[in-house]
């Protein structure tokens, strides 16, 4: 954790944006490690894939499209900012004073609401990964919302920088040109990644379906799946990889994923339960729950993968 703090300061000081982004990735990875230490394996998984992976790639693409050096501002303006930050921080510290100590098993959060998930989700939902039970069923509606957030972001990116104006060549200007050039020339890299990518995709599928039992689920799977494609594009060529997954298809999948999720909810509603009640999907409650969770997780995976791919390619096709 202290490492994270140090990284944080380094980011604040560093002027080279390229370095900043790299450090951010590292920061993210470190937080993922921290999550594992703190028993949050699912979260760690996601953070590593999303925070360290996708976000970093996106930032690098942006830097490639803009500039990678931060201009040194000459005025001493940040004084007020520093003041504000110190005050806010002090307020927060003040707020921590009455917090239950770290790891305290007697803290209120461990005694209200949460115990029920641990005690009864086994019977009620019937899958061992409590995080997945909550994510997909108890608080499935939040997750629906979350999928919509990523859906919104994908559509938004399409709206903002999609469809470059006519007359421009659709070429790739990824990352720093030389780096890509080097990669292309590197036969070993190409071969290894060609071998690796199928595994990544298979791993993604595994994560997708395994989410009920161990860490994993639609999000992680979607992101990993997408990163497979992104890796391909990084090493080979965006245009080639676009041929593998045409934009129309990703868009369709993007929409179908959220529709699948919401659709499962509506089916529950039509079968006499409330919206997103999976228990009514089958005769037996746990079977229904299980089925529902599988389906919505698949929806999540679809949308997340499609969204990540869409976002990435939209960035990648930008012209400087």
């Amino acid at each position: 954790m202290v490492f994270m703090a140090v990284t944080g300061f380094a980011i604040a000081r560093l002027r080279n944006l390229f370095g900043v982004v790299m450090l951010t990735g590292i920061f993210s990875l470190m937080s993922a490690v921290l999550y594992v230490v703190l028993d949050a394996v699912d979260v760690a998984f996601t953070e590593a894939a999303v925070g360290a992976g996708i976000a970093t790639v996106l930032m690098l693409s942006t830097l490639a499209l803009t500039s990678s050096e931060e201009r040194v501002s000459e005025d001493g303006k940040p004084m007020w900012a520093l003041g504000l930050v110190v005050v806010t921080g002090a307020v927060l510290i003040y707020g921590t004073l009455d917090m239950p100590p770290f790891g305290d098993a007697y803290a209120p959060i461990h005694h209200h609401v949460a115990p029920r998930y641990l005690e009864r989700s086994g019977q009620e939902v019937g899958i061992p990964n409590v995080v997945t039970s909550i994510l997909a069923s108890y608080r499935g509606y939040d997750t629906l919302g979350e999928v919509y957030v990523i859906f919104t972001a994908a559509c938004g990116v399409l709206l903002i920088i999609g469809q470059p104006k006519r007359g421009r060549r659709r070429t790739l200007r990824m990352l720093v040109g030389e780096m890509r050039h080097g990669m292309r020339q590197n036969v070993i890299l190409r071969v290894v990644s060609k071998l690796l990518i199928p595994f990544i995709l298979v791993f993604a599928l595994y994560v997708q379906w395994h989410g009920d039992f161990g860490p994993g689920g639609g999000f992680q799977a979607g992101v990993i799946f997408a990163s497979g494609f992104i890796l391909y594009a990084l090493i080979f060529d965006v245009d080639t990889s676009r041929m593998v997954v045409p934009s129309g298809v990703t868009r369709l999948l993007l929409a179908l994923g959220v529709l699948l999720y919401a659709g499962v909810g509506v089916v529950g509603l039509l079968r006499g339960g409330n919206f997103l009640n999976y228990s009514v999907l089958a005769e037996e409650q746990t079977v229904g729950q299980h089925l529902g969770i599988l389906l919505v997780e698949f929806g999540v995976g679809l949308t997340v993968a499609a969204a990540m791919i869409t976002i990435f390619f939209t960035f990648a096709r930008q012209e400087h």
Binding site: A107, D142, Q163
Partner: protein
């Protein structure tokens, strides 16, 4: 089916958004969005009717009882909010068609309507939910989609406006998240009603106090509470017309609602809000907003920006009502949510019509507009009266109750601020009127050229509504008072 209206209220729009994406045709997307918004309005009205007759409606998602699952809790306050949002949403649709076609490239229009539906769903989701974290999720849906929509404005300043809004909005959301985390830490629950029952026991802990502070600042950013309003003027000024109408009329309103919800429902049983310094701070900020923003509005040359500053001032009215912590004050705020939504919506629609025909809303382009676009300008003047608070308009009704509340409370300064602020509204509205009516049109301009009927009719619907509900305000006020009383009645 009627039992599922609460879910359908939000889910319909959510379902329709990806459908728009699949359809990929502007007209089809528009048609879908229109149908959905109108159905949503019908749903909202029927929900309001049901709440009015039978009281609070609870709808646990997935049949998981709160606090374990997420539950929709609809009382008079949020049923009213739903009506406001869907009403504006459905009136904007016919207006949007021509306006959006003129301002956004054709191949992006279907995505625009997708965003619009998402935004609508997000706002509805905030209004309807009984779970503080679910509120955050839908807050993000609505925020992200509004950043996108704002950035579509023709002026390149729309981009920076959207970016600044994104940064400030995300800071706000993160602050909110910190606040929620701290509350959760002390109580172990995220359900509003549950929080309300547990919080009093831990209310005097420093953590909860800080949580309240962070929630206040976080939501304050979203509702553009002075001095956290910096994102708003440019965002409203440079967004596409239809977006400005919708956001100005609903976006900040929903944030105000969330503010009310947190203070009066979640912290309803807690003394730290009612007895603490927060109301005083809010009152001071509100007063500063009312005077300061009005003063800035007077000096604007871009009329859309002028109206944006006026919005900040109007938000000040609402916060002032909240800060009084009395039934009358709160009822004044709630009724003003509705009233301001319809009048500002109307005014920004008038801007949309002018932008459509003239291509600019700079004040010097308004010369002779009273003759060139008589119907639009008449609507602008009529809406302006409402902003000033001339009797028979909704603006008058809101002001009446806010002044009354301030009088009951003995807040003389607040009374003065309300009145001075409305006088400043006279000045900034009149600057526009004078240019439009008492300066000759520039040479060579067309005689009369009005915006199409599809824009004028929605415009006049809103302006008409701002008179209808100004002349007979009993209905809206009954609802507002019932809502305010229920908020003071403790937890749901």
């Amino acid at each position: 089916m009627a039992a599922h209206y609460p879910a359908l209220q939000v889910v319909l729009a959510l379902l329709a958004a990806p459908v728009c994406l699949i359809l990929r045709r502007p007209n089809a997307a528009w048609a879908v969005a229109t149908v959905i918004t109108w159905i949503s309005l019908a749903l909202a009205l029927s929900l309001l009717g049901r709440v009015w007759e039978t009281g609070v409606i609870l709808y646990p998602m997935g049949d998981w009882a709160a606090p374990w699952g997420i539950e929709y809790q609809i009382d008079t306050v949020n049923a009213f909010m739903l009506v406001i949002v869907t009403l504006i949403g459905s009136v904007v649709m016919p207006f949007a068609r021509a306006s959006v076609e003129a301002e956004i490239e054709e191949e992006r229009i279907y995505l625009f309507y997708c965003m619009y539906l998402l935004n609508l769903a997000g706002l509805l989701g905030i209004a309807i939910t009984g779970d503080v974290f679910n509120l955050f999720v839908f807050l993000e849906i609505s925020s992200l989609s509004s950043y996108v929509m704002i950035s579509l404005g023709r002026d390149k300043r729309a981009l920076t406006a959207a970016y600044r809004y994104l940064v400030m909005g995300t800071i706000g959301a993160t602050f909110y998240l910190i606040g929620v985390g701290m509350m959760y830490m002390m109580t172990g629950t995220l359900n509003m009603a549950d929080l309300a029952t547990i919080l009093p026991a831990v209310a005097d802990s420093r953590t909860v106090m800080v949580a309240l502070g962070f929630l206040t600042v976080g939501l304050g950013l979203k509702l553009a509470l002075f001095p956290l309003h910096l994102w708003l003027p440019n965002a409203y000024a440079y967004a596409p017309s239809a977006v400005t109408v919708f956001l100005a009329a609903t976006g900040t309103k929903v944030a105000v609602y969330a503010f009310i919800r947190i203070f009066f429902t979640v912290f309803g049983g807690v003394e730290i809000f009612t007895a603490g310094v927060i109301p005083e701070i809010l009152a001071v900020l509100a007063a500063l907003a009312m005077i300061g923003a009005s003063a800035v509005a007077i000096y604007q040359t871009d009329v859309k920006r002028l109206l944006a500053y006026s919005s900040i001032a109007q938000i000040g009215y609402m916060v002032l009502g909240i800060s009084m912590v009395t039934v009358t004050g709160l009822a004044g705020t709630i009724v003003h949510l509705f009233n301001h939504a319809i009048m500002k919506g109307g005014l920004f629609m008038a801007m949309g019509c002018i932008l459509f025909k003239i291509g600019s809303v700079q004040l010097d382009q308004f010369e002779g507009l009273g003759k060139r676009m008589p119907v639009t300008m008449a609507a602008f003047v009529a809406g302006g009266f409402s902003l000033i608070g001339v009797p028979l308009t909704v603006g008058f009704v809101s002001k009446w109750y806010l002044v009354q509340a301030a009088l009951e409370k003995g807040w003389w300064l607040a009374v003065a601020v309300i009145l001075v602020s409305s006088l400043m509204a006279v000045i900034y509205i009149w600057r526009v009127v004078e240019v439009a009516y008492f300066r000759p049109p520039p040479k060579g301009s067309a005689e009369v050229s009005e915006a199409p009927l599809s824009m004028l009719v929605p415009l006049w619907i809103l302006i008409g509504a701002s008179y209808y509900f100004g002349i007979d305000a009993t209905r809206t006020l009954d609802i507002a008072f019932a809502a305010a009383e229920s908020l003071f009645g403790g937890p749901l």
